[in-house]
Symmetry: C2
Subunit: 245 residues, 2 copies
């Protein structure tokens, strides 16, 4: 895996399109929806195949990765690659990189949830009795089970997500290609895909409106563990599916 080539969000979407078109015979999509890097893919669909996407709902992710997001991801990458057990990607199992993966989880703890998630001890709802127990019982196992090279592939891709690659760097021109009726759906407590970054892209996207999810979990509301999260997503998607296109 250390020699797996770099792939981009655009490669994902090109492959998805090929699968849908050649194997399933599907040419028109009633709805493209995804969260985080899935939102990056959604924007890629909107810009790359505008005539074929009827509705789109990018959730908690942007069309063009921001510099802050690049630096956040860089910190995540460095937590892994600095582990001596990483050995330039030639580790024998992810257990060799467990210290780096735990530090990676620790940075997610800071940026992935919100300040209020920790202050209000929302982890109690997940049946932990301390933030340390939540880290050891939830976030660390979640990330230490992952393959470090996989994570690095994803990080490289995430950092370079940018639909303006289609238009020589002109984001307005790229988003201007969108024909789908679109709901842009940020999460109000997201610390690294903040609402204002979505609002900025909203201004550039035809046929788009915004619906903000209220969730103290922040970006990791995407886990869907808050009882109120899925209801909000469902409501916004039903509203979107109810629109004539």
């Amino acid at each position: 895996m250390s020699r797996f080539p770099h792939v981009r969000i655009g490669d994902d979407v090109r492959a998805q399109e090929q699968l849908l078109s050649e194997h399933c015979g599907i040419e028109t999509l009633q709805l493209v929806v995804g969260g985080s890097m899935g939102a990056q893919q959604t924007y890629e669909w909107m810009v790359r195949f505008p005539g074929r996407v009827k509705r789109a709902a990018p959730i908690a992710g942007t069309a063009q990765n921001t510099p802050h997001d690049f630096l956040f991801t860089k910190a995540l990458v460095e937590a892994i690659t600095s582990d001596p057990g990483f050995k330039d990607g030639e580790y024998s199992s992810n257990a060799d990189v467990v210290d780096g993966l735990k530090r990676h989880a620790g940075i997610w703890a800071v940026m992935g949830f919100s300040t209020e998630f920790w202050k209000q001890e929302v982890w109690r709802a997940l049946e932990f009795d301390s933030k340390e127990a939540f880290m050891e019982g939830f976030l660390e196992p979640y990330f230490t089970a992952m393959d470090p090279n996989d994570l690095l592939c994803m990080a490289w891709k995430w950092q370079r997500g940018d639909v303006a690659r289609h238009t020589g760097g002109d984001l307005a021109e790229a988003l201007g290609r969108n024909e789908a009726v679109t709901r842009i759906v940020p999460i109000n407590e997201d610390m690294f895909f903040p609402v204002r970054d979505h609002e900025y892209e909203l201004e550039l996207t035809p046929h788009a409106t915004i619906r903000v999810i209220d969730d103290l979990l922040g970006h990791l509301a995407l886990f869907g563990v808050a009882p109120t999260y899925i209801g909000q997503v469902d409501r916004y998607l039903q509203e979107l599916l109810g629109e004539d296109v």
Copy 2:
């Protein structure tokens, strides 16, 4: 330095008080003011020596460290201690820990400034021509010049700043001791001492009002490099110094 004892914000303030009282003969302070851990010290003065502080202005720091802030600081600590050159604190110079100190700077880049600082490329005002050049020319030299054990001492102290230590954990009772006319001064773009954490403590602090500094730098507005920063601080402190006490 690896065997330097743990000290607390309360130890700092006790030593400051001893210096002022025994060496300078100063018993009454017209104004106690400080930023970040200096704000923690300011709250400590307010609660520990209430009759002797006439005015107080904690800037971008809280009376009780938050769990999110604890986790942020933990990520900073781990960036340093995970460097093999750290050798459990027995390195021969901070140059041995330069990789860890750079990762530490990289986490500060994510949390110390704001998302808009990076998006609006505010570093251009500091005469850098890329975010990478800003990291290499400003934030990395700033932190790699520091002694790792010093940073860890500061981190330990920061994580445990809590005036409720005076009242068996009751923050309201502790802040209720304040007699100083107080301005609580958060920075609107601070990612780890957000305004709402200051508002929460404002509610518990007698004689206090809030004034919010507007600065895209976020917490590191405290560097004072934005031309508009010092003017705001001066205005709020002059206002405070003009009050009858």
